[in-house]
């Protein structure tokens, strides 16, 4: 057949009726570097999980389509099968055991053993480890990568750059490795380390290993890859030779237009010149969403969208402001300095937050709707309470009245205010969250991922609600979302966060390519600093 090392043919995947991959076709030749790019949720990880035979794929009903290696169809059922077929993966989060030495990590589950008296009777698993040969092999693999580090050192305490190389050493130590997948390998590396890594990747490709390189850094892709495949919403958008394309085109393909953006009221908006929230050098240590120094000014009455790829720190901004994760920096809100690391102070100063973690932080799922709506207000502002001596009792009448109003105003579809919040649909749960935030009478509303996990119809309702709050009550809204389309549909400005910093600020009607470039950190725009 062809000289393809690997070909995926019409690969599709469904998670409980939700199609996350549609007819993906990928071909990889020997010694070729294929870059895979796409926004979060584009299906890259799912695709790689299929290729690697991860249990999550098979426990949810497997996949459709064909995978061929060297022209032969293969059925990969477990990571072990993948290994047998010569597929290796360098994971984004390191698959290294900190307490083990470098050798032990490189040889994990592929330890060299020699038979002993007991193993001859009781089987192979009781063979002794051949530590010397293991060390020699590890040394060889490290030498290929020109790593000058002692193989007997423990992994704990090594710099991240080294850990990445140990992962690669593990893969190339595998016999008959043909295909190597790098899942965002440079995401955690400093620039010099990233450069070393790219050199190593090129070297490996020269040895005839086919490489799939997942990254969102366009510059790197242009630099190292031969071909680039763009994915969007689980679909295969295009595959191009890198020499025939440029980063603008790739960025445009990556973002695309998902739904038409209807904006009707961009004219008569009364955004004042008054700055309501002034953030200077905000650093937030939220795991996976680290913010590394953000400067942002928000005017009274505007809707500001914060966008960017997952893991770049956009979610950290709101969480840091609310004191949910440790933060430093200077934040002036409404003319007063905001006390950080204190959720109570943030709420009291007039901030309200609709969390991205609706079921975790956002709602008390086993509590009634009305309980959820008034919960924060009762705790923080002593609203809805009757004081009898030292005791505080819930003021049921007032709560019911308020809940009914909210249910009517926000159009929460429920059987009664006493229904459990956990029973509601995603969109209605989100409205309950908003209702709770509104009950605090905030001057500024922080909304994170308001449409995550809710269906399209409900999405529109939630977005319309935010728009209405802004228009009718002049509420300032900062909305953080992974979905660029929804940011573009309601925001006045969109701040793109990349690597924990503000990459740039764009108007909602800026071209797709600009968004794509900024999200992948490839355009260092001057306006970022003054945003």
């Amino acid at each position: 057949m062809s000289d393809n090392l690997l070909s995926l043919k019409n690969v599709s995947k469904e998670y409980s009726g939700n199609r996350v991959l549609k007819d993906i076709n990928i071909e990889l030749k020997k010694g070729e570097i294929l870059a895979l790019i796409g926004e979060n949720g584009a299906g890259k990880s799912t695709l790689m999980n299929i290729l690697f035979g991860m249990p999550v794929i098979h426990s949810t009903g497997g996949y459709e389509g064909k995978i061929e290696i060297d022209g032969k169809e293969v059925n990969i059922k477990s990571p072990h099968d993948a290994m047998e077929h010569g597929i290796g993966m360098v994971h984004q989060e390191f698959m290294l055991i900190p307490g083990f030495s470098i050798t032990e990590n490189i040889k994990l589950n592929r330890e060299i053993t020699k038979p002993n008296v007991v193993s001859k009777v009781l089987g192979k698993r009781l063979e002794s480890l051949d530590v010397k040969n293991m060390n020699d092999d590890a040394r060889k693999a490290l030498d290929v990568l020109e790593m000058d580090i002692d193989e007997y050192l423990p992994v704990a305490g090594l710099p991240v750059g080294h850990m990445q190389f140990i992962e690669i050493a593990r893969e190339i130590d595998k016999k008959g490795i043909k295909i190597l997948v790098f899942d965002e390998p440079t995401a955690v590396l400093a620039e010099a380390e990233a450069k070393n890594l790219l050199d190593a990747i090129r070297k490996l490709a020269k040895k005839g290993i086919g490489i799939i390189f997942i990254s969102h850094r366009l510059d790197e892709i242009i630099d190292v890859a031969d071909k680039v495949t763009v994915m969007r919403d689980g679909e295969h958008v295009a595959t191009k030779d890198v020499k025939d394309t440029n980063k603008f085109e790739i960025a445009q393909l990556m973002v695309g237009r998902k739904i038409s953006i209807e904006r009707t009221d961009s004219d008569n908006k009364n955004v004042s010149d008054e700055t309501i929230l002034d953030i200077k050098d905000l650093k937030v240590s939220m795991p996976g969403e680290r913010v590394k120094g953000i400067n942002l000014e928000i005017k009274k009455g505007e809707i500001v969208g914060i966008g960017g790829l997952a893991g770049q720190g956009k979610l950290g901004v709101a969480n840091g402001l609310m004191g949910i994760y440790p933060a430093t920096g200077e934040v002036v809100f409404n003319g007063k300095k905001l006390q950080l690391n204190n959720p109570m102070a943030s709420i009291e100063s007039g901030l309200a937050f609709v969390s991205e973690d609706r079921k975790g932080v956002g709602l008390l799922l086993d509590e009634s709707i009305e309980g959820n709506i008034v919960f924060s207000a009762m705790q923080v502002r002593n609203d809805f309470l009757n004081m009898v001596g030292p005791f505080r009792f819930k003021d049921s009448k007032k709560i019911r009245k308020h809940a009914k109003e909210m249910i009517k105003d926000l159009d929460i579809r429920c059987t009664s205010p006493l229904q459990n919040a956990g029973r509601l649909s995603g969109g209605n749960q989100q409205k309950v969250c908003v209702a709770r935030a509104l009950t605090l009478n905030p001057t500024l509303l922080l909304v994170s991922e308001p449409t995550r996990g809710i269906d399209i119809g409900a999405k529109k309702l939630v977005l319309d609600l935010l728009k209405k709050l802004n228009k009718d009550y002049g509420m300032t809204i900062v909305m953080t979302s992974s979905e660029l389309a929804e940011l573009r549909s309601i925001s006045d400005r969109i701040v793109i966060v990349c690597e924990g910093k503000v990459e740039g600020v764009l108007p909602p009607d800026a071209p797709d390519a600009d968004f794509g470039l900024m999200m992948s950190g490839s355009r260092h725009n001057a306006e970022g600093s003054e945003a």
């Binding site: 994990l108 698993r125 063979e127 002794s128 480890l129």
Partner: protein, 433 residues
């Protein structure tokens, strides 16, 4: 990889002080020393006699806990189930009046499949209760106790027909007596079947063990001398161990040559000692095999082990089975030394006491090695011997010392678990740097 004991290698970067790491051990040393100071009734002779017989009874059980800790299952309170398997085997032997030295060997043989089966089911349960293994192991012990009582109190006699005249059956013909005499080995029973094979004076045993440890240190030193991984800390440990064993050698030679009062300490059973040493060697060796490496991988990170293609569930079940079988054998050794089978009570406490012993030695839920087990067994039993004495001399009432015991056992477990949680919380705390 180096040649230090495998538990040492599991140690992840130290981030707490030495005192905090060894607080439990230090408390126990202080308690024992304090006991010696306040109570004048305890002679060294009495203390060592008590300690050695308790040590030989319990060490095997404590050592059976190490593998589950290495495999990430935490402290396996479920060895109670293994102990029941051992007791079932002994009960069968007693019922058919099989005994003697060959009868003892047969007891071990019969206990093996029973304990392996129990271990398998316990292991399956641990896999279903991932992350809560310790609670599960505690509860499985209580649950199994219920089944055990059903078997011995009801099934024997009602379902399994037995003659009411049999000396181990209750006079009404249903159930097994509360205490069953195991009959001396000379009379065809199991009592002292292992102990009586060979006994040597206590100080000779000390001398032999000390010389063996000294030799081990010398071998280790010459083997690792030129390895770069053999760093200052390990050199220091080798030196300290050597000096300690030299001191022991000196004391024991002195005692033997001068025939001092220490020679009057009760003789120690050689065979049990050999069993304990073999189990130590087994624990060390198995960690140097592929299976042992899998235990450690699974213990460190189940997810990474899974992705690397290790069958995590199976590995954990094997670890549980090994532990359960060892516990069954440990219980058999314990009972032949006691001489009577306390049918409904002998097994109930061993989970708690063994776990407490291991913790006292400095082990945690994630780190345990032979040194922890041996040191812990010695210290924990010292406390057991000393606490009534302390109660007597301080409060004039030995019973108060009994309360002390209970307090110390559960206090130690609580403290060790608390420290573990406190430490992992400290690690997990997000910081700005």
């Amino acid at each position: 990889m180096n040649n230090v004991s495998s538990g040492e290698r599991l140690k992840i970067k130290r981030d707490s002080s030495w005192i905090a790491d060894n607080i439990v051990t230090l408390i126990f040393i202080a308690f024992t020393v304090f006991g010696f100071i306040v109570s004048d009734g305890v002679t060294m002779n009495y203390f060592l006699t008590e300690l050695s017989s308790r040590f030989f009874r319990n060490a095997f059980l404590v050592l059976s806990l190490i593998i589950p800790v290495v495999a990430g299952l935490g402290l396996n309170f479920g060895i109670v189930v293994g102990a029941m398997a051992g007791q079932i085997a002994i009960a069968i032997m007693r019922y058919f009046s099989i005994g003697g030295y060959s009868g003892m060997a047969l007891t071990f043989l019969i206990a093996f499949p029973i304990a392996a089966m129990f271990g398998y089911f316990t292991g399956v349960l641990y896999n279903k209760t991932r992350g809560q293994e310790m609670i599960a192991s505690l509860i499985v012990g209580y649950f199994a106790n219920g089944l055990y009582q059903f078997l011995f109190l009801f099934a024997v006699g009602v379902i399994i027909k037995v003659p009411a005249t049999h000396p181990m059956i209750k006079p009404d013909g249903v159930g097994i007596r509360m205490t069953v005499d195991l009959v001396k080995v000379e009379e065809g029973g199991l009592k002292y079947a292992l102990d009586s094979i060979m006994e040597i004076p206590f100080m000779w045993a000390v001398l032999i063990v000390a010389v063996a440890i000294l030799l081990l240190q010398v071998i280790r030193y010459t083997k690792n001398k030129n390895k770069p991984s053999f760093n200052g800390n390990q050199r220091m440990m080798t030196l300290i161990n050597s000096v300690l064993s030299l001191v022991l050698v000196a004391i024991s030679i002195f005692a033997i040559t001068t025939d001092s009062s220490l020679m009057k300490v009760r003789q120690v059973p050689v065979l049990i000692g050999v069993f304990i040493i073999s189990l130590c060697v087994f624990n060390e060796l198995i960690l140097k095999t592929k299976l042992g490496q899998d235990f450690r991988s699974v213990g460190q990170s189940q997810h990474i082990a899974e992705v690397s293609g290790i069958n995590v569930d199976k590995t954990r079940i094997i670890a549980t089975m090994i532990s359960t079988v060892l516990a069954a054998w440990g219980q058999i050794m314990y009972l032949q030394n006691m001489g009577t089978l306390n049918t409904y009570g002998a097994h109930t406490q061993i989970g708690m006491f063994s776990v407490a012993s291991l913790l006292v030695g400095g082990a945690s839920t994630q780190k345990a090695n032979i040194r922890h087990a041996i040191l812990g067994t010695l210290l924990f039993n010292s406390m057991f011997i000393m606490s009534p004495e302390i109660g007597l001399s301080l409060f004039g009432n030995a019973l108060l010392g009994e309360y002390f015991r209970t307090f110390m056992v559960y206090g130690v477990i609580g403290l060790a678990l608390g420290l573990h949680v406190w430490r992992s919380n400290k690690k997990g705390k997000a910081t700005l740097n």
